[in-house]
């Protein structure tokens, strides 16, 4: 699943913040178990065709067998032959997601959605109204359980990065608070394996292990300059994350300076054929979020992380701001085509230079809506009713095809 990114101005002062990372547990599988009592307590895999599909979600009952999401279906069924395979029902997931986000919004407007089932909340200013952050998280999880009938986990910390790791550890159906205070975040991370850090997949973990680094603490103890020499410009960033340094604010889409989606692949991908559908899907997601936030972008950025961890970003500026996914994709694909054919571990598309789509002042000589506008309105309506994956373009559908 793609990991979206949001960025905004760094906070003016490093006042202690309270960030909650709320993450639904095995979201699609939990919705299926909620709606079909026969599935409760049984190993459930949500996904498509056994030959070519991938696992979209795995219930906690099937995880001890080693089944994980994004794994090829065939492999999952070899690991857990007794698993019940359920076809995805995107409309049900979209509906549940909408209700969850309504509950989150009741606590703070500073809610940054990461996907259908995951969000950051900055509750720093909500404390006076709603109490301690851990109490807020507990209340949110109880309301989600009572009103939507689904389990959720939460991590509470002073920065996003730590909150996200904490919610991972709290799963399933739990919550974990990392106390604020100097060094608390770093101390919490130190004993954990480096693979817990955001952006470190199995390959990076392997590479670090070769350097004698297994825990996040090992990483934090290194000299950032030497890490930079060994891992490239990303090295310092990695070290900062290991030290729980994460100044990124929680930015709702509406106020975001940029809206992006990125994805780290299971295996490095090379060549336009393989990369284009990924970039296309990211562009469509970004455009959908732009439209939901009522924004348009003047700049498109393509981000590539090569197998050697080097990150390249390439931007293109449009003559007219857009919220059309195909337009974003055309620009991103053109940027991609100009890059040398290295093996790539991550691609990301982000929309920047954002302006309101509909200025409040109406015009006398308003241009008629374009074909793209009309089409996008129809696509959004379908996605709202049947879920984000219900309708997409041919190349992406082929990539995820399950028949």
């Amino acid at each position: 699943m793609a990991t979206p990114t949001n960025s905004g101005d760094p906070p003016a002062a490093a006042a202690p913040r309270a960030v909650i990372h709320l993450d639904m547990d095995a979201f699609y599988a939990s919705v299926e178990q909620r709606d079909d009592p026969a599935l409760r307590g049984r190993p459930v895999v949500v996904g498509g065709d056994a030959r070519r599909g991938v696992v979209l979600a795995a219930s906690y009952e099937v995880r001890p067998f080693g089944v994980r999401s994004a794994m090829p279906m065939a492999r999952a069924l070899r690991l857990a032959p007794d698993a019940v395979v359920v076809r995805p029902r995107f409309d049900a997931y979209a509906e549940a997601s909408g209700r969850v986000f309504e509950i989150l919004a009741s606590v703070t407007p500073l809610c940054e959605p990461l996907s259908l089932d995951e969000a950051f909340l900055d509750v720093t200013a909500s404390r006076s109204l709603f109490g301690a952050p851990a109490d807020i998280a507990a209340r949110l999880r109880r309301r989600i359980a009572d009103e939507v009938g689904l389990p959720a986990s939460a991590g509470i910390a002073a920065v996003k990065l730590v909150a996200k790791v904490a919610s991972d550890l709290a799963k399933p159906n739990g919550q974990l608070e990392v106390p604020d205070g100097a060094g608390a975040g770093a101390a919490f991370l130190a004993p954990l394996p480096v693979s817990r850090l955001w952006g470190i997949g199995p390959k990076s973990a392997e590479q670090l292990r070769a350097m004698g680094i297994t825990t996040i603490g090992d990483l934090a103890r290194l000299d950032p300059a030497s890490l930079e020499r060994r891992l490239g410009p990303g090295g310092r960033n990695l070290w900062e994350r290991a030290c729980a340094i994460d100044p990124r604010p929680v930015v709702p889409d509406r106020e975001a300076k940029s809206i992006g989606a990125e994805e780290t692949f299971e295996e490095d991908l090379a060549g336009l054929e393989a990369l284009r559908p990924r970039v296309h899907a990211q562009a469509l997601r970004v455009a959908h979020r732009l439209r939901r936030a009522g924004l348009r972008a003047r700049t498109v950025q393509l981000k590539l992380k090569r197998a050697d961890f080097t990150i390249v970003t390439r931007r293109a500026t449009l003559d007219q701001a857009t919220d059309d996914g195909q337009r974003l994709y055309r620009e991103a694909a053109a940027l991609l085509a100009r890059e040398p054919a290295h093996p790539i571990r991550l691609t990301g598309v982000s929309a920047q230079n954002l302006i309101p789509a509909a200025p409040p002042q109406l015009g006398l000589f308003a241009p008629a809506p374009t074909h793209a506008d009309t089409l996008n309105r129809a696509l959004d309506a379908i996605a709202a009713r049947f879920g984000a994956g219900a309708i997409t373009t041919g190349d992406i559908a082929h990539e995820n095809s399950d028949d």
Binding site: P360, Q361, L364
Partner: protein, 367 residues
């Protein structure tokens, strides 16, 4: 070059020239005013930004013929501050200007007048004498709604039409539009409408701001030309397609009412104190017998004012930029104005109460 000139006379020319001289141009000499003697008793004082040109013929006592250019703003400020009535101007070596008045003496760096671009031949233009007050009134009624967006050339000016008996000016910034028609007997008979850029309109207005006697206007070689005695202004017309303005002026709106112009204007000024600085958004609402203007802003507070009117139609509430109404109401002289509203996304129309041929259209804003 050397001349003597009365301070007030010199200032009259420099005032018009320094408004046009272009300090931001890539051609440094365009920031200068061009001074050139003519005969024994005339001084030509000119400036251009290559689009707008002014040429004023001043009375002076020429002692030695020649020409020079000097920083327009600088010279204007210098002469304005001089104590004495008579100014003595002399060109010295290396294009320096020496300016003396009484016991004050300035030496200013200039540039040779030979390097100044050739100015349009204003004197040659065929022009037509018209009422200055009418022209001034038409400019005032349209200049405020000209687009300030330089990238939208076709909206960055006032449309001018004239058939020899009637003239019309129209302007729009895309959000609002003003259109005025007035009898202008003796005016030029133009085959097509022309588009006069905003900066040119500003200079034309400046040149006739206090004038009583008629002025002569005409179109010559792609320029709008105005002559008022010894003042000549030439404005290069915009080569662009003005939007089809008649289509966006609603023929008739069902929700019409008449209201005191000053009452409406004051209410808008008061209520907009509580609207955001950026958008000046207010809600204008109609119900039986009442016009209501409201504003609320989560950061500031709220305001509301009601005016009694004779209105019997359906209730409606529409958001508008108060600034747009304040601008146009300031240009109407009649004690009452007639306002027409329609739906939430439809334009408002305002006309003077006396039925004269002036109409302003304002698009709503979403609040």
């Amino acid at each position: 070059m050397e001349f003597k000139i009365r301070k007030e006379e010199f200032l009259r020319g420099l005032y018009l020239a320094h408004g046009i001289a272009d300090r931001k141009s890539t051609l440094p000499i365009l920031a200068n005013v061009l001074l050139r003697t003519e005969g024994k008793d005339k001084l030509l004082c000119g400036a251009t930004d290559l689009n707008v040109t002014t040429l004023v013929t001043l009375s002076a006592k020429i002692e030695k013929e020649g020409g020079l250019t000097v920083g327009a703003r600088q010279l204007y400020e210098i002469v304005k501050g001089l104590p004495d009535d008579e100014v003595h101007f002399r060109r010295t070596e290396q294009n320096w200007a020496e300016i003396r008045a009484g016991k004050v003496e300035f030496k200013v760096v200039g540039l040779s007048d030979r390097d100044y671009p050739k100015l349009p031949a204003i004197a040659e233009a065929q022009t037509f004498k018209v009422e200055t007050a009418t022209l001034r009134d038409m400019i005032a009624k349209t200049i405020f709604s000209v687009s300030l967006d330089e990238t939208r050339q076709h909206l960055a000016g006032v449309l001018f039409e004239s058939d020899g008996t009637t003239a019309r000016m129209v302007s729009t910034d895309g959000h609002r539009l003003s259109k005025v028609s007035r009898p202008l007997p003796g005016g030029p008979k133009l085959a097509a409408s022309v588009l006069i850029p905003r900066k040119g309109i500003v200079e034309l207005r400046r040149a006739i701001e206090t004038r009583e006697a008629p002025v002569a206007i005409g179109i010559h070689d792609g320029n709008f030309v105005l002559k008022a005695d010894d003042v000549g202004i030439s404005v290069k017309l915009i080569d662009g397609q003005f939007p089809p303005y008649d289509q966006v002026i609603p023929k008739e709106n069902e929700r019409a009412f008449t209201v005191s112009r000053l009452g409406f204007l004051d209410a808008l000024r008061r209520v907009s104190l509580m609207s955001s600085d950026k958008t000046s958004g207010v809600r204008i609402g109609l119900e039986k017998g009442k016009l209501r203007i409201e504003s609320d802003n989560p950061d500031l507070g709220a305001a509301r004012e009601e005016i009694d009117i004779a209105y019997k139609g359906a209730a409606v509430q529409i958001g508008f930029n108060a600034r747009y109404f304040i601008d146009l109401l300031g240009e109407i002289e009649t004690p009452e104005v007639r306002v027409e509203l329609a739906g939430e996304l439809d334009p408002a129309v305002v006309r003077p109460g006396d039925g004269s041929d002036y109409v302003c259209v304002v698009m709503p804003m979403r609040l």
